[in-house]
Subunit: 393 residues, 2 copies
Amino acid sequence: MTPKPFQPPQRILMGPGPSDVHHRVLSAMARPTIGHLDPQFIVMMDQVKSMLQEAFFTANALTLPVSGPGSAGMEACFVNLIEPGDKVVVCVNGVFGGRMKENVERCGATAIVVEDEWGTPVDPGKVEAALKANPGVKALAFVHAETSTGVESDARTLCELAREHGALSIVDAVTSLGGIPVLVDNWGADATYSGSQKCLSCTPGLSPVTFSDRAVETLKARKTKVQSWFLDFSLLTAYWGGGAKRAYHHTAPINALYGLHESLVMLHEEGIEHSWTRHSMMHQALRAGLEAMGLGLLVAEGARLPQLNAVLVPDGVDEALVRTTLLNQHGLEIGAGLGTLAGKVWRIGLMGQSATPHHVTTCLAALEAALLAQGVKLPQGAAAAAANRVLLV
Amino acid sequence: MTPKPFQPPQRILMGPGPSDVHHRVLSAMARPTIGHLDPQFIVMMDQVKSMLQEAFFTANALTLPVSGPGSAGMEACFVNLIEPGDKVVVCVNGVFGGRMKENVERCGATAIVVEDEWGTPVDPGKVEAALKANPGVKALAFVHAETSTGVESDARTLCELAREHGALSIVDAVTSLGGIPVLVDNWGADATYSGSQKCLSCTPGLSPVTFSDRAVETLKARKTKVQSWFLDFSLLTAYWGGGAKRAYHHTAPINALYGLHESLVMLHEEGIEHSWTRHSMMHQALRAGLEAMGLGLLVAEGARLPQLNAVLVPDGVDEALVRTTLLNQHGLEIGAGLGTLAGKVWRIGLMGQSATPHHVTTCLAALEAALLAQGVKLPQGAAAAAANRVLLV
């Protein structure tokens, strides 16, 4: 069989990421490839770095996009900072906390797990107890915005607790950056990583990471080599560091970086505070519509992420069939539940370019139709009306 | 300062990679992003896998593009196959053999280094001696096409030696795939990795990898967990494996994979054997032109890679000034020497879409002008004439 060029279908992306990518970013990806040591490329790298610092609200010199997806960014934080024999307090309240635990153990370190129920935030009281009970902990790791549940944890308080106990903080901001405040310097976060394909609405494949000076000192003071050559920041910073001379480490993903650059330019143009407001308003509109349909959210008010809404599947509804109907009839992708939440929730993303009135109303209308088709009793049109009451304010 | 969209300059890429990317691949990168679990995306993944099998001349079921650059593909091979305490014979005849040694040591294993002079192929006699002297070696690792020197090593013989001694073979085919034969099944290579941005002429950022059944069995029989979660093939194959059901591991770099798909479609359309012939012919034309200018190659005839030509810098020539002149006056990028060859060679790539008559003649003309500008005595126009004698056959 002769392969043909792939023409993707037209989708509306409202799952847990990737989110819809703006045509400006897609166009940027298609610009001619240049060399990774080209003087003009280095100018672009400096702009990416400075726009990432702006987005992370940090002056951290070590701020760069890792050449891999969010999981690679996560791994970069652990392998650079954690050494065999270290102890790390890991907060697990969803899939990504569990992945952090895996990372700690694969570094030859011990994970002291603080568990919270999926759909609830990390409990700072338990974290404090774990830090007190385990003197000499190297780091506290937690997920700011759990993509598997839609819950926000109190990053400021957790970073403070880490610092008070002489531990570094490692913060998963994959789903938060651009959607809600990520205030690295203000929190005193030591290692923070994100992803390109969530609220930045770039294509997937890059992971912005930022290290505080304290984290950089920890890296410099290591007794052992970083177990990953590819992710070794003591080498990579010779390429991403300042100045006109850049030492080759690995070939940077040129066109993906064009895309990230453009998405950061767009974020700058909008203003990050405005982006937060937009995410919040779209969430309120979606929630109003969902409630008008009788649908509830997994997460209690106050801890809900605007950009990731875990919607409880009503009894008797075939949740997989609803997703298939949305995809096939409306070209609309929403996410399934993961892990213990599989079959119990849908995950509706309102991230970046997918946080618009068009997305909210399309999703509500499609969901209403799919539920009606399964015989669910609904006040027809109520969802749209409720959403519009928020949107038209 | 308000950041602006980045408009890259127009370049002609004849360095050690990235090579020029065809507009078909660039256009594919700009197609709308869809989800990494979208049924249509899974169809595309299957096509990528099958075209990679074709390019690698293998039926290996575990064949996939790692979501990172060639260095991540290299690391994937080592971390999946090598465990603490293992012994690995590593052939070092350039930069990338040295990087393999780093990988082995960071896996907690011992590297038994077989050194050959930079610019010469790996000596199978020395390798055999090392394998005999060290019974129980887990793997033999070598670079098929050394990008730092332009030398080809005898992959078939080296893979045979590994098998005879009960060791796995780990083959760096970053610069070879698509440019010269990479015959995975015929050689009996166990773990082979490549890069997207060399003779496949895709954008940088992906690393095709293929594992033999023997390698897969070694992975399954591990006593310890793979030290990288991100690169753990025992998890990743649940996403890239066959069938309609795919388990989420990490978010695949969707648009980068569109690009790789298109570059593989183009390779299939051309026919890989034809691509090898084209690379060989362009190399002969370039070499004829270089010789007509009195320029020699680092590597002896018989071991020269057509796609990477290490050209000896003549005495008295400012090699950095030549590269700057080519870049600024002609938009032409060629590579500098790395490591011990810094300042001593230029590296001229003829990879993928950069292996055309246009590239050969442009490079020769620009190089002639740059050398004349430095006062080098040259028979003017001789290079073009010599190249044309090859090209017009």
